[in-house]
């Protein structure tokens, strides 16, 4: 192959890789969480060096890695699907991360509530057993921030306290309904919240 041909093909391949549109289209359709302490979604791909250490230290094996299915920009970046395996907030991944893609956050309730914002739990009352008159309360018991991020009402009806919910997904993982009556809505702008906290303190 001539060098010129090779270079031309190299540039073409590079240009194809650089096209941002397909990844953006796919991204909006998928529901996934980033590990706790993650930077905002728009910065994540630029900060993560795809070393996989967050997954290696995760004792719960809830952190998985994207293949080609979520856009070229997200290949090999970590994600969590809580209904498969939820985060237990051990905070080891932020410790292991060599970059600022995941911030190290101490394993204390206040620090976690202030710094972690994977998403927010939302209850679908038409699916939730307790709201249908059959006392359940499983999600309330699964929550690591009981009475801080979730309250139990009459018949153990879950009431999410959105500003304290960190989105770990243990409630969604534990829900005995199928489809789940409580789910995490990902917060992909999360770092803005963290920086807002930094600015206010």
């Amino acid at each position: 192959m001539h060098r010129r041909t090779f270079l031309r093909e190299l540039v073409t391949a590079a240009a194809l890789l650089a096209l941002p549109t397909p990844s953006a289209a796919v991204r909006s359709q998928q529901r996934y969480l980033r590990p706790p302490g993650a930077a905002a979604e728009e910065d994540f791909a630029a900060l993560c060096i795809r070393c996989g250490q967050c997954g290696q230290v995760c004792p719960n094996r809830c952190i998985e890695f994207f293949g080609a299915g979520n856009g070229a920009a997200n290949i090999d970046t970590p994600y969590i699907v809580p209904r498969e395996q939820a985060c237990i907030l051990c905070m080891k991944c932020g410790d292991a991360c060599p970059t600022d893609a995941l911030t190290a956050i101490p394993r204390e309730a206040e620090a976690i509530i202030a710094g972690v914002r994977m998403g927010t739990a939302r209850v679908d009352e038409s699916l939730c057993l307790s709201y249908q008159g059959k006392t359940c309360g499983v999600c309330y018991r699964a929550c690591p921030l009981q009475d801080v991020a979730i309250r139990a009402g009459r018949l153990e009806q879950p009431i999410v306290i959105a500003e304290n919910c960190v989105g770990c997904g243990l409630c969604e993982r534990s829900c005995i309904q199928m489809p789940q009556a409580i789910r995490i809505i990902p917060d992909h702008r999360r770092a803005r919240r963290a920086s807002a906290i930094e600015a206010s303190t």
Binding site: L10, A45, L47, R50, Q56, G67, D76, D100
Partner: protein
């Protein structure tokens, strides 16, 4: 045998030591994901729920690690990661290319990451591309791949021996940095073989099997077999380019001792990077792998402390005698590096 009468020289055995180093690194990259799986099992407190195979695996890992770790869930976190970025007893260490790629992609400087690549970067200033020859887990597989090429050659399938331009990899480095900045992703993580190998081993052992990087890596193996021996390292590796640049004025380098050299060309054949040790042609590409030293039958190659290569020092002693006996003048280009 002649070989038994030669005095023992340590430098002739450095190549074996290098293989030990490469094998150890690769073995660690296999062992660490296994440890991660074992830690998951420990954390789950569910030994009884494991399958018979998983229980055997658990028992094996317990036997292997119990001398080093009283509490597997915590103590075994001491060593994690890959050569791309890892943790060694609380000390983070990473590949300089990872930091460079992240700076280009994010446009920010994150000091803990830059500090973690400082030691490898400074070591490369003194030792050159030593990472490529002594540590890189992809080199380990590429060198085995070269061996496969030799076997294929023996049964009549000739591997590719094309020559491309060595400077191509600097272009890959530059274009990669530019594209990282343009797309906002750390592109090198996907096209840098040691990062890919470490990650794919982890995926295959601890997660759900090989990812997209495995396809890329197999393609590089085929490139080496079909196009050029060690072609990816020589022509396309962005990390190799970075280490070559860092090691341009390295202090430890291999040099030839002309009085001992007999111009037998064994060093040039041994050099997988296609360099020209016999005519003092090492350059910034040399990864100090010592294969040429091991191949030299007259111990005419050795490590020296110098910040640049010797210019061509002329033919070895047998070459001089040949010239003298056949009346060839000293300056005639019978042995010219440029014509090689």
């Amino acid at each position: 045998m002649n070989a038994t009468q030669r005095p023992f020289r340590l430098r002739r055995h450095l190549n074996k030591l290098r293989w030990v180093s490469l094998s150890l690194v690769f073995a660690m990259l296999v062992l660490l994901p296994m440890i991660a799986v074992y830690q998951n099992y420990v954390a789950a407190h569910a030994y009884d729920l494991l399958s018979a195979d998983e229980q055997r695996f658990y028992d094996l890992m317990e036997r292997l690690t119990s001398p080093f770790a009283a509490d597997p869930a915590e103590d075994l976190d001491a060593i994690k990661g890959t050569t791309w970025a890892g943790r060694f007893f609380g000390f983070k260490i990473g590949d300089p290319l990872s930091a460079l790629g992240q700076v280009a992609a994010s446009g920010t400087l994150y000091w803990p990451l830059l500090l973690s690549v400082l030691i490898p970067a400074v070591a490369s200033l003194f030792l050159g591309r030593f990472f490529c020859g002594w540590i890189c887990p992809a080199s380990f597989l590429y060198e085995l791949n070269t061996g496969l090429g030799v076997l294929l050659d023996r049964i009549g399938l000739r591997p590719g021996r094309r020559h491309l331009d060595r400077r191509l990899k600097y272009l890959v480095l530059a274009v990669g940095l530019g594209l990282s900045a343009a797309t906002g992703t750390v592109l090198f993580a996907a096209i840098y073989p040691p990062a890919v190998v470490g990650r794919e081993l982890y995926y295959a052992i601890a997660l759900n099997g090989f990812g997209t990087g495995a396809v890329f890596f197999v393609a590089t193996l085929l490139f080496d077999l079909l196009v050029a021996r060690r072609g990816f390292c020589r022509y396309l590796c962005a990390g190799g380019a970075l280490y070559s640049l860092l090691g341009r004025y390295r202090l430890l380098r291999i040099q030839r001792i002309p009085p001992a050299c007999n111009d037998c060309t064994k060093c040039n054949v041994a050099c997988e990077f296609g360099l020209d040790p016999m005519r003092d042609g090492f350059g910034q590409e040399c990864n100090n792998c010592t294969a040429c030293i091991a191949a030299c039958p007259t111990d005419a190659l050795e490590f020296k402390v110098a910040w640049r290569d010797q210019d061509y020092q002329g033919p070895g002693h047998l070459g001089r005698r040949y010239r003298h006996e056949h009346g060839v003048a000293e300056g005639e280009p019978t042995n010219d590096r440029e014509n090689a």
